[in-house]
Amino acid sequence: MEEVRPTRSELLERRTQMQLARQGMDLLKRKRDALLVEFMDTVDETMRLARELESNTAEAQYALTIARAVDGLVAVHSAAMASRGAITVEVSGIKIMGVPVPVLTKADSTIRGPLARGYSVVGISSRVDHTAERFEVMLEGVVEYAGRETRLRRVGEEIQKTSRRVNALEQVTLPTLSEQVNYIRQTLDERAREDLFRLKKVKKKIERKKSARN
């Protein structure tokens, strides 16, 4: 145990610390509960997006396979060269129970029409065009999923961190402080009893001297 000075001021300080720790623990527990509610809501949404993304990816891969098989690798590569592009994603942030969470917002939809893919529609098979469209749909889902997953991860990490703090307060800090308060109180009580005993002894001695003089 940490060395504790068994004084009245120390006792008061430890008691204040205990009260503060209890309040902190209650606050952290409430924060953890609120984060858990947020986490559960985000989990449902993230799972739905993950399933959607998985199915979109499978569809895109299937379309790509058909295009590569029927039109050939060169036709797909060639079309892919023309349809390269950048996606503008704006990153802002919000706070959930004090946890900073990034919010990803696309400036434009990633899904382009057949006339906006960079290549001319003439001479491109619908298989290649369909593949491009499926990958654009997938990309749309990737951006949405990325935002949700980051939110879920941040909230999850914060729940873990808060739980660790609650546990530390509950299992370590509060029992230690309580032990220290008990120790100081016992020591102070002991001292008070000793003082009382000493005073009684002194009183007896004084009375004895007085009776001897008389």
Binding site: I66, A69, L73, S78, A79, R84, V122
Partner: protein, 364 residues
């Protein structure tokens, strides 16, 4: 000293298709038949398919490409090399009067390669990346394509073509201002396509030999199908009539510019199918319409039209057995064979169901 061979004898082949067609028939006999393709589809692994192809005329190309690994990309590389070489052989053995016609058909690949180079230059890709997606098969040689791929910018590609006095530079040069204004490649590509089909139509108008009608019919069907494919995708694009007309390709057998515009202005695919009722494509489109309605995929209709073109072109062998028909039909048959092999190999490598692979094959 090497003994002279029969092929070393100088033969005047300027007008006679006899020698050429005999060679083509010989090459035709080496094409994979239906049974071989079935075996390829049935092979359980990619390695088994590669082993199978090593026992066919693709052996040399497969062995050469396998140094890049036992992958689908290697097989694709081998198939491209084989096709390129085969077409060079065909161009060599053709009589002079047929060279122009066949080159006009093969120039479709020049257009594909030029588009790829323009796309690569537009997106600042390296020369190696661009070359990897080319198909040197027609009038532009591998060296010329490599030079163009190194040009570095769209302007330089067009300038290089102009320096070489290539006719492809004319439509590109005319479309360059629009490219510089919008920074979009589509107008350049469209200009190339439009120029290609109109120049083929013009070239066929000035020829009066026996092969002209046949090649004109083949090109006419190709253009019609290209116009139909475009119309399928322009539905609901909200373009003006003038803008739609820009997408129309000249030289089609049955789809004129006004009918193309009305096809694109149809409310849906069913509208296009109804409008096509009086054309030779009606039967094919109607047969594919059921599957299209079930799956909602345009590729069903497109594959059916590709199937029809292949069958029509292959029929040219019978319509013109002593002329250029045999050559044109062989080019198609070879291309179709390569496409079928690719479907089987790519399909197997990604575990595509056999039923789906068989549906994509065009077996003639």
């Amino acid at each position: 000293m090497r003994r002279p061979r029969a092929t070393d004898v100088e033969v005047d082949r300027s007008h006679d298709y006899g020698y050429c067609n005999a060679r083509i028939r010989g090459m035709w006999s080496h094409l994979l038949d239906r049974g071989s393709l079935e075996q390829l589809v049935d092979a359980e692994t990619l390695d088994a398919q590669i082993r199978y192809l090593s026992g066919t005329p693709y052996k040399a190309d497969i062995e050469e490409a396998l140094i890049y690994g036992h992958t689908v990309a290697s097989v694709d590389r081998a198939l491209r090399a084989n096709v390129g070489r085969t077409w060079l052989v065909v161009l060599k053995i053709l009589p002079e009067q047929g060279v122009g016609l066949v080159k006009a058909v093969l120039a479709n690949w020049d257009i594909f390669d030029l588009k790829t180079i323009l796309r690569g230059a537009h997106t600042q890709l390296s020369q190696a990346e661009i070359i990897d997606s080319l198909m040197p098969a027609a009038t532009l040689s591998a060296a010329e394509l490599s030079e163009l791929a190194a040009a570095g910018s769209v302007r330089s590609v067009v300038d290089t073509l102009a320096t070489w006095r290539m006719p492809y530079s004319r439509p590109l040069d005319a479309a360059l201002p629009e490219y510089h204004r919008n920074g979009e490649l589509a107008p350049l590509e469209l200009a190339l396509d439009r120029w290609y089909y109109s120049s083929v139509a013009a070239r066929l108008q000035h020829r009066h030999d026996a092969g002209k009608r046949l090649v004109a019919s083949v090109v006419g069907t190709m253009v019609d199908i290209e116009n139909l494919r475009t119309a399928f995708r322009l539905i609901g694009a909200e373009l003006t009539t003038a803008a739609i007309a820009e997408y129309w390709l000249e030289g089609g057998a049955h789809i004129s510019q006004p009918s193309f515009v009305s096809l694109c202005e149809a409310a849906d695919i069913e509208g296009i199918l109804n409008a096509m009722r009086r054309t030779p494509y009606a039967k094919t489109l109607e047969a594919a319409a059921v599957t299209y309605l079930q799956e909602g995929s345009l590729s069903v209709l497109e594959r059916a039209l590709e199937n029809l073109t292949t069958r029509e072109v292959l029929a040219a062998r019978r319509l013109d057995p002593l002329g250029v028909g045999v050559v044109v039909a062989f080019l198609w048959a070879k291309q179709n064979e390569v496409s079928n092999i690719r479907i089987a190999v790519t399909g197997r490598s990604v575990g595509l169901p056999e039923e789906r692979m068989r549906r994509e094959l065009i077996l003639v």
